[in-house]
Structure formats: structure tokens, C-alpha cells
Subunit: 244 residues, 2 copies
Amino acid sequence: MMNEPKNLLYPQKWLAKSSTGEQVASELRLHIISGVIESGTILSENKLAAEFAVSRSPIRDALRMLASENLIRLERMGAVVLGLTDKEIEEIYDVRLLIETFVFERLLKIETADLTMELSKIVEMMKVAIKYHDADEFSYQDLLFHETIIRSVEHSYILMIWNNLKPVMEGLILLSMRMRFKEKYEDFPRIVKNHELYIEAIQAKDRKLMVQSLHDNFDDVQGKVEDLWRSQQILIKGVEQQND
Amino acid sequence: MMNEPKNLLYPQKWLAKSSTGEQVASELRLHIISGVIESGTILSENKLAAEFAVSRSPIRDALRMLASENLIRLERMGAVVLGLTDKEIEEIYDVRLLIETFVFERLLKIETADLTMELSKIVEMMKVAIKYHDADEFSYQDLLFHETIIRSVEHSYILMIWNNLKPVMEGLILLSMRMRFKEKYEDFPRIVKNHELYIEAIQAKDRKLMVQSLHDNFDDVQGKVEDLWRSQQILIKGVEQQND
DNA sequence: TTTATAATACTTGTATACAAGTATACTTTG
DNA sequence: CAAAGTATACTTGTATACAAGTATTATAAA
């Protein structure tokens, strides 16, 4: 059951109700995205089971998940870590742009008062998270913001795409925001502003404004992999200090 | 290891190298899509393990796969079958339209001679499959046609979406084509024509023609669920006769 | 020294065992 | 008869055992 884990990158409170497999996947995912586990590394079920002090069953679950996210490739002997190149990060945003513009087209045709109310609430939460320097909470609200928009159009296959993208997105945003809170705290007012613009775009049913704010939002999060790696180095040190 | 299975809807030769879990998933998937297993049914791991004469391990794998395809929902006790409504089938085609138009935009910018050559080969294969009334082979080539186009732009996350969509698409096309071979054989010249138009559109870099042929292609496959169910009834009878 | 072969130590896939938790049905008590 | 509580037969999640196959390494022969 994963006792006394070290180097925990993933917020523990997000793991509340999840199975051991999901917990392992969440932790491994961040290690891969941040570069702690390098691309090309071969992961063995047995070794991972030993490392995490669990049996192979949840490890297998975790590897399946990571494989479906394109972070690893399952092979006959061992799972090879693919990691995220800059190209792939751009591709993720291609897809987000694709689905969010699709969703926006749907939003043009329906009543959005409830939605914008909900989104405003989330933005308020983001402001609180900023005020208290809570990077994880901010990341959570950021993701929730976009997920709320996507869910509002009730399109099961668009939602499926989001769900497949979400874990990696979550990792990217988490690492990016943690870095920003430490080194670029001044960014946040602009990020909040962008989200408010997004809400305005929905209210005004203004395609151009929506795409604009979406692009700005991406630019904010789209830290290059090197930045994330640097961020991760800092975080590891933080964790080690905590453990002392 | 799944000995002596009955009511096999899924082409056995497609299962060549796949694990037991994938085999179970493939078979269950067709049963769900075709309606043999009704929406709302509660699937139990133990019962499925007994039915398929395998252990729970591959069953669990299979259920995970089907859950990621939105065909079932995993709950605390049992997995509830969601099935495919007409709305969801339309949503699948929304997504296909979304990704194939995205891919087409990329194709406009690159050399496509190799691709169209490959596609022409596939269309030839389709013609042979038609000639010999091989519905399964035709379905295979039809799927391969679109996958080849999608792969050609080398976009890992677009490919991820395709991979997530593919199993359900495969099921839909398989059932639809089997029905057509029995009842609407005259459809096939038009289907082939559409694919040839698609190739032309790529060669001519003609957006309009591409969307047109894509839509026509969808209309051809987009049989309503009731049709598939009817088709499946016929097929079951066929299998039973074979087993006599 | 090089090559071929055999032994060994890994790998994953599947089966089984066990533990923790949940719904159902029955029994007991009011 | 009704209601509450308990026993039982399920469920899934995790751990372990086993089997089949693969890569590596060591050994033996040319």
C-alpha cells in the first residue's frame, strides 16, 4: 500500500480515493514529465514493485495508464520511457485548441449563464490560491476551469479526449505553476486576466476573443521541458530538506 | 486461454498476437456495440471469468479497456454497460471529422505522393475484398485507409485520439459492413468511389472535396444502432448454423 | 581468439489466494 | 406484523504463485 514514499512530487491529497495503481501512475507520471526518469529508461514491473513496495498488480495498472498517455511504450521485455519532447508538448496544445474551439462552437448555440457563473467562482478560487501561494491548488482550479467548460457541452467523446489528455496536462501545469510561484510570481495576475477574458468571450459569444485568450493561456503554461526539469530539481531539493 | 468460444463475433485472425485480455475485450466490445449485451447490464468480473473460461486478470484488463472507450463504467460493485446511443455514434463522427480535417490541413503543407500511392494500394485491396465478399477484410482495409492518412502527419496526440477511438470504430464498421454485404451489396461501388475521391482531394489539396468525401463516407458507415442490432441477429444465427 | 551452444537469470501473462468492504436476506426482537 | 441487527454471499483490490518465453552470460569447441 505504498508506505513511506520518498521524493513525492504528486500532491498527496489528490490521491485520496484513488487505488494504489493510480497513485503509482500519478507519481511515475510526474517523474517522467519532469525528467527525473529520463527518456529511454527501461522500467521493469518487478523493480517498480520493489521500489514502491507494492505488488506487481497495481504496477501493471499504472504502466497501462502511462502507456495510454504515450509516456511509455510497453514492449516484450520492459516498458521504455518515452517522455515528453517539446514537439509533443506543442501537440498537446494542438489538441487542446482543437477540442476547446470545438466546444466553443457548441457554446455559441446554448445558454451559458450557469456556466459563466461557475467559471467566475473558479476564478475567485484561483485568486485565493495565488494569495496563499498554493501552486497545487491553483493548478487544480486551472484544470477545473477548462474541464468545466468542456463538460458543459455534454459531448462524451470530446470528454473522452480530455480525459486522455488530462493526466499529462495536469503534470505539465503542476510543474509549470510550481516553478512560477517560486520564480515568476508576477505572472499570475495576467493568467487570471486571461481566464476572465475567456469568460467574457463565452458571454459575448466572441470567437476571436476566445481563441486569443486560449492562446495566451497556452503560452503561459507552455514552459519548455528544460524549465520543468529545472523546476523539478528545485522541488527535489525542497523535499530532501523536508525529510531531514 | 479461452478455449472453444461460442458466438464469436470478432474475426479470429485479427486476434493473432493479442493477449487474452485483448481478446476478451474485442469480443465483449462487439457484443456491447451490437446490442447482444444490453445497456444497463451489470458485468461481474467473476461471472465473465467463468463465461470466458479464463482467470480474472485478463478480464480486468478487458474491462479497463472498455471503460476507457466509454462502453462501460467501472463502479464499486460491477461494471455497468453503457452501450452506444445514436447520439454517441454521431459524436464519434464529430471527432473523426475533427481529427481528419486537422490532419488534412497538415497534408496541405507536405508532399503526399507516397501517401496517395499507399492509399491507392489499399483501395485496390478493398476492391478485392468486395469481389470475394469478405466483409471483415473490407472493414480492415477501410480502417487502414484512414489510419494511414492519420499516421502520415506524425502527430502523436492526434494518433492517440485515433487509437482511443479505433476499437469502437472498428466494431461499428465491422457490423455495418457485414450487414451491407448481406443486404446492400450494391453500396460498395459508391464506397470505393468515395475513397478514391478522398485520394483525389489529397492530391489536389482540395479542402472542399475532402470534407465532401469524408461526409459521404460517414453517411455510408453511420448505420443506426437498430440496424446493427438487426445485423447481429442475423450473424448469431449464422454462427449457430456453422456450429451445427 | 572467435563462435556456437547451453545454462541461468531475467521478463511478462495468467491463475490463484487472500483481505477488506458492501449489499442482501434472514433472523430475532419489539 | 414491523423493524433492527446480524450473518452470509457476494463484490473488487492487492499479493503471490506459476508457466512460458527471451536475453544474457558463461562455457566449451574450433
